[in-house]
Amino acid sequence: MSDYIPVTDRERADMLVSIGVSNVSELFKDVPEKLKVKSLGLPGGLSQQEVAEKLAGIASTNRVYRSCMRGAGAYRHYIPSVVKAMVSRSEFVTAYTPYQAEMSQGILRAMYEYQTYIALLTGMDVSNASLYNGATAAAEAALMTCERNRIKVIASGNVRPDTLKVMKTYLSAKGMELVVLPDLNGVTDLGALRSALGEDSASVYVEQPNYYGLIEDLSAIGSEAHAKGAKFIVGCNPIALGLLAAPAECGADIAVGEGQPLGMSLAFGGPYLGFLACKDKDVRKIPGRIVGETVDRDMRKAYVLTLQPREQHIKRERASSNICSNEALCALTAAVYMGAMGKEGMREVASACVSYAHYAAKKFTEAGLKLRYDGEFFHEFVTVSPGKADAILDALDKRDILGGLKLDDDAILWCFTELNSKDEIDEAAELIGGAI
């Protein structure tokens, strides 16, 4: 048994004397006696060794596949050793929000650099210091665009399902509406979008690449939105931005996304990283922490949390968001990852993803699957094979390959990254051929 309490019995006795009470329970005399719990119905404490053994045992009942061809919002990438080595430094890990700037310059500077990376990646002017994950980032962005007379947010039906669900939760609480459009051949239907847009539209939200891996014509969608005075929000995969045009170049007013692919492990869904960047003019609507540059009393460059009058601890019910704790360590992870990859590495990772995905699409269609859509895709694509989705995934599972995500009895959403290989894909194609 271990409880991490360093005060010894003798010290405790001395401390009680110093306080002027005779025992610890006297300190709790404000708690009504009849409300106190006798004892918690939990097991007794374990030694550190037992906890290590028990959880290693539980971990071993999870299956880590030899090969993974599944994405759908959580992406497996190579994580350079330098990322974990730097992020696990305990000065970063065990600190809290840098309220005391003088003793937190390292964290503030790292966040300022993170904000710069996100701005460069998205082409936007300014980024915040992180949100919980891609889904809450999309929801917060949608809330940013709502005004008194503009209460509808239009999203494409090919947005990741989790993101749509979280947006719906957030918007409906504020009395706003989420309109979900049907897609056309997998991409946003411009005609349907045009008819849905009106004077009450706050914004349009699409993802790049979308849930099916297809690359959207952002400029065309943005033009439709802007023509009706609505804002344009783009949810982007940051790895894809190594190759694709930056959202700002395509008319986006706000860029958000799931930052997990930037050096975070799959981790059964979290912790991940929500990023949000926008134009200078919207800076006071941004949710969450922002770090800014200033000078100290001796005119040295310094960094601080800034524009705090947006935030809950100052504005309370009139704050731009309720967020307090964010995902700072994940933002640091993303920053170290982007620094480690650098200009060339980001492009190489994106290019490897695209190349493996297209090779797989070719091999899988040769094996008998059909592509559900014919549009240009990034590192994910959907195949169909009537009634065969389970059989295909089972055949792969038996050979320790986590296949794509089953969308229905016919369709599978596949994902490939730089961690896949030609041999794996060839093997999968052969198994698929045998299964259908």
Partner: protein
Amino acid sequence: MKADKLIFERSSRGARAATIRRPDVPTYTLKCAVRQELDFPEIPEVTLVRHYTALSREAFGVDNGFYPLGSCTMKYNPKLDEEIAALSGFTDIHPLAPEKSVQGALEVIYSLGEALKEITGMDAVTLQPAAGAHGEYTGLSIINAYHKGRGDFARKKIIVPDSAHGTNPASAAMAGFEVINIPSDRDKGVDLDALRAAAGADTAALMLTNPTTLGLFEKNIEEIAEIVHSAGGLLYYDGANLNAVMGIVRPGDMGFDVVHLNLHKTFSTPHGGGGPGSGPVGCKAALEKYLPDPRVVRKDDGKYAFAYSEDSIGKVSSFYGNFLVYLKAYAYILTLGAEGIRRSAEGAVLNANYLKSNISDLYSTEEGRCCMHEFVASVEKLKEETGVTAMDIAKAMIDRGMHPPTMYFPAIVHEALMFEPTETEDKATLDEAIAVLREIYAEAKETPETLKKAPHSAPISRPDEILAARSQKLRWKKQ
């Protein structure tokens, strides 16, 4: 290397750190619009490592020293739990992998939920919220759904005491409620008359932190619960201060209907420079069906599975929340066990009272009552006498290698310094803190102008926050 440059100022054309395997398939070139250039820095690995190492030396965590930041419960973060959360069986599993392949992960979610139910006295738990404020939002959305589910659409107001954390009213507003602020009484608790006047047919819930943000146990909790419940409202427990009372009194037994916890506070997961946290929400049986989807259940055959509810408020987060964070909390709870949890609360309260009783002759604190895990000191009198403010005291602590307490909160106490030492500090550290605070007080009396200029030994002196807000330099730009 000194931390004097941004990473972008260390770029050197052609340099690089990480490298990846060259794809062994043909290169595919996209036909759509591609970006001309990604203007990222090019950094050699050794430079990257020295840069971040230099930054880490200008950061201060619990591992560096005493960190009595009130309401944040900066307790020690066990290394064992970090190691567990780095096991491949936890980090390398896909959130959409087949249920049969992630039984261990589902077991963690289920078992931690069961433990938190027992600790809070609730009937059901979700681990989906990613932080405390996110938990508040989730809990209030559940309350909203509950009232509407009963056909009661009039309950649009959330009552919040003036001593509440800022997240309380902000979360209520995000969940679509109107906020009614009520004042504190003479004992710094909820003013019962004000509560009676505010509670009515439009009350959805009262949000309460107990112990309060003043570190005092709300003695009238039973009466408060009675007032709110008889008005048809619910009681929401802000679990930010649970560390004071876990294993001693349970929110469920105090009359609370919904509770959120901050696992990064009470259950020792590291704060990460601001996050990630984890903010599970527990509720009584009548509200269970409104919890976010999906939840994890244990089936008759002992297997774990996801379960969905038609009445759920939906999702508040991607996937299942911050899995690796709550995994660490699970390891911590297993380590402590029932008795260790109680001992931690007792230790937190002991340490706070010890610190308080040894500085309260100089720093004015609530008299005649024991504090719980934290206490608020006011230096209003010192400020009148010397001009030295709570801010000055805080900055002087930085010079002495300690993190300052929370400043200027709660707002109902002037020149407030809120100390929360936590149970993981030993007596020697507390004695050192006492000596430091007494020394700073003496300095305030003798040479106040020196304190006004503190800190003297930090990498920077006090930053110009007004300039930061006005100039809005929020990112690096190429010159």
